[in-house]
Symmetry: C2
Subunit: 545 residues, 2 copies
């Protein structure tokens, strides 16, 4: 070890080295024996020295483990069968005439003078077969393209919160300044792989042109893949044109290469409204990525029993997938699961619950049965960034990851059941997502890692600090946290007893201070701005609100 090497201090080790044993004076011998290693009491972490937090490099994690199956194969078939019976016998309301006509022409039963559509099971099974198992979602920066499907995982930012929160400013209604800062923060966090929508609603932009300005911001402040809201067909068209410009490709290329996605929520139970159907018509016809997600709160918009709630979720999801494939066979589409439960005492929606975990996993089983990419979420009902916010998020990630999710919406920043986006929560979630990604790193098993030579060298009663096997690897051996505070109690107290929320707040500021917009061809930026100006001059998309 040369003098330039970072030290490998050991002073903080001793206290907890007897985890299971009764409390005895800390055995100092092993620490003393780590002679020659510089001491640094309590182990200051990098970002306290005004350096940016250490992040994992950009990469999509891969699920190498078998997903958890929460029902048997037979039970899965019962749920599948119940869904097909729902579509066959009860049907679903499609609130768009063009969509109904397409479905009728494709063989569905459209009830005369009604919005009700019924699907024979053979039609459902035949149609969903053309949906691709994997989607390559293109970003304007080719290095940020995402594989959605198979074992690949992509994490998105929070989306669609009406309010925003940070420690300094408190909770406030969404606005463009916070919107832009949340995009900057999401861009700065490598583990956030895509911008999942408006992190917060910029309500100070008029609704008729909001999609133009907000999409302009997303495409210039970030180079990651983005989302378009399905709020009428013209908005989808505008956003699609903007990503075409941003990517610098022609229309034919755009329609071969999914370059934007839209979340399609059914209005559960059993209804797809007009704007959502127009979103499918527009995006599926042009080869863009539809993420079909029923939002089925068991006990409210779905049965109180989980099997029934998921049977309904599955019926609605399959109907949406059928719609995409009727519009264009092979159109990219994901199966979204978002079944949670309500507090049956108050009616309040709950997230990250044991029910949520199991339905997230069950949704994954169904998506795999149909060979579709699977979308889940990182959710929490907590109002503040306390232990509840953390445990609900990790429980929902447990459900998503072990459920085999490919596309994790609301990965960073979702609070209060989606009612506010949190700056600090976004950073805290990035810590959680990085931990998940590190958990998914394989344990390498080979002669080097089995380390028999090191074990022989150290021998009974020795220590591994100083051996070459450790020295060669210690810098990168383990996940390094941004937030987790591992200092001993005394050092932590001296530092003012910081808690995770406050540390996240400091990182928010550091990242925003260091933020630099990603490179963009000035001609493209100009073309984007010109498009926004023209469409704004045209009045955007006139609204009645």
């Amino acid at each position: 070890m040369t003098t330039d090497d970072p030290a490998l201090p050991a002073a903080a080790l001793a206290p907890a080295a007897s985890a299971d044993a009764p409390a005895t004076p800390a055995p100092a011998t092993e620490v003393e024996a780590a002679g020659g290693l510089r001491r640094r009491r309590g182990g200051r972490v990098e970002h306290e020295r005004n350096r940016l937090p250490i992040q994992r490099p950009w990469a999509q994690p891969t699920l190498r483990y078998a997903p958890t199956e929460v029902v048997s194969a037979d039970e899965l078939e019962s749920i599948h069968d119940a869904s097909l019976r729902i579509l066959e016998e009860f049907g679903m309301d499609f609130l768009d005439a063009e969509a109904r006509e397409l479905l009728r022409a494709a063989g569905a039963q459209v009830e005369a003078g009604s919005q009700r559509v019924r699907f024979e099971r053979a039609m459902v099974l035949e149609r969903i077969r053309t949906a691709p198992a994997t989607v390559l979602l293109h970003a304007r920066n080719p290095e940020r393209h995402l594989t959605v499907g198979g074992n690949a995982i992509a994490f998105g930012s929070v989306a669609s919160a009406p309010n925003v929160f940070d420690l300094d400013g408190g909770r406030r209604v969404g606005n463009r300044a916070d919107y832009r800062n949340l995009i900057r923060l999401a861009q700065s966090l490598h583990i956030v792989h895509f911008i999942a929508g408006y992190p917060v609603e910029p309500i100070d932009i008029h609704p008729s042109i909001r999609h133009l300005d907000a999409t302009y911001d997303a495409l210039t402040l970030s180079d990651k893949a983005i989302h378009a809201y399905s709020l009428g067909r013209q908005r989808n068209r505008d956003c699609l044109e903007m990503v075409r410009i941003a990517r610098g490709v022609d229309e034919a290329t755009l329609e071969r290469e999914p370059s934007i996605f839209t979340i399609i929520n059914s209005s559960s139970p059993l209804r797809l409204d007009g704007p959502m159907l127009q979103g499918i018509l527009e995006f599926s016809s042009r080869g863009q990525f539809v993420v079909m997600t029923p939002f089925t709160l068991a006990g409210a918009m779905a049965p109180v029993t989980l099997a029934g709630a998921v049977a309904q979720q599955n019926a609605e999801a399959l109907a949406g997938v059928v719609m995409t494939q009727v519009v264009r066979p092979g159109a990219p589409v994901a199966y979204g699961g978002f079944t949670s439960n309500v507090d049956m005492q108050s009616g309040a929606p709950a997230f990250g619950t044991p029910e949520y975990m199991r339905t997230a996993m069950l949704g994954g089983q169904l998506a795999r049965r149909y060979g579709l990419p699977y979308r889940s979420s990182n959710v929490s009902a907590a109002n503040s960034l306390d232990a509840q916010a953390a445990y609900e998020s990790v429980f929902s990630l447990w459900g998503a990851i072990m459920g085999g999710a490919n596309f994790v919406m609301h990965g960073a920043g979702w609070m209060e059941g989606g009612l506010h986006a949190g700056f600090e929560k976004m950073v805290l979630d990035a810590e959680l997502l990085q931990m998940v990604a590190a958990f998914l790193d394989p344990i390498v098993v080979d002669e080097e890692t089995l380390a028999l030579d090191a074990i022989r060298e150290v021998g009974p009663g020795g220590h591994f600090f100083g051996v070459a096997h450790t020295q060669a690897r210690f810098r990168t051996a383990f996940h390094r946290p941004m937030i987790s505070d591992w200092r001993n109690y005394e050092s932590w107290q001296e530092a003012g007893s910081p808690e995770a929320a406050g540390k996240a707040g400091r990182i928010v500021k550091e990242l925003l201070a260091a933020y630099k917009p990603p490179a963009i061809d000035p001609a493209i930026e100009e073309e984007l701005a010109a498009f926004v100006a023209r469409r704004t001059a045209e009045g955007g998309v006139p609204t009645d609100y």
Copy 2:
């Protein structure tokens, strides 16, 4: 619904009902439509009305899902093989002459004039075969007996912390008053299945008699299964005699029925010290439960590479298991995994990390390979009950549960890498453990739960609040939290913006105020007290400290 029925209010539902959709005015229609249901703004939770928190009834959860395998079968064999090479070629130090003599007589190679013992692989494989796959750990209350092994899971309290913390009193050195209150709290929480040791060290009891008074407290304040520290053979004997008295059984019955357990930590690397070996000699010879747990911090007491750290863990665990079976074939023993990593910048131990999760799962794979019950833990390095404390705990539970753990030490209350026991953390962890238990409840799939009739009845665009299918089930449909706050933001603010730690603190007080000691036969209590008095008069176990 009669007027006596609890209402099923829905007022809090609307705001988040559009989770993925852009923020729009909350659609009030579904809420309004839930007519006839009384409104209760924000959903007060039970314990705010000075009622005890609702808990799941006493029951051991069962892992119905396949455990997660983090390495392939071939890789597992490589680790297994490396462990056997360690025991065969390098050997381990056994710091007790009687133990060495027993091992020598059983065929191990004991190096002359040394503590080093080497084991041929055939001996290891043959000896571990006699260990039982499942242990019935007896408590003094037969309703609290625990199955340890198979798919059964048991959660223990925190153990062995030198310090204690609560919000009112702050952090302080362990003492008997706090020790007793933590036992009371653990007794009050149904999801805490056993007392894992001294929740905090009662240092105001002299070490020579501490095991007597502390065990008396544990056996009278609780009726759950308990632990004895292996700190010299006489202490094990005293504790065993006390559980015999508490159970009211004779010695022959006691030796047929494991009635107490001891954690045996190796002094990694590759050393078993005298008191630990005496613990095995005493407890295994008398049929009591040994939980063999190497504490292998990768990068410090074990190789920096996870495969190597676990190979060493496995060697040490197998050596301990062999020792138990040499003492008495068939003696109950669990395989303990406790491999974590240190912060390589500071040397501080870390817990609930991505490395910890994977080694917890890998330990489970090894335990299953050997057909042994598996012990893991719920750990956190956090100094305060913030988001970090929660996410590290849930990540370690994820590792433990999906790793197939049967016996979860430190399940409730472990903070600061084991350096303090937290009253509030014990309650918060109980919330997490209850959520885990609910997650492990099966999704029932049958005609009733598939709810096709209810879905038909409600139809597209309806709601499920009022239907009979919901009404018949809503009271018990979902897990009910003790701590999680699902109120809307305004109600939550009006209530003073409570955070999880504070809510846990209130529950601590409620449970301690309502605590009643479990029933005990007065004659048994008298006999226990007399035993303690006699052994105290004899000087307990004289100590040199």
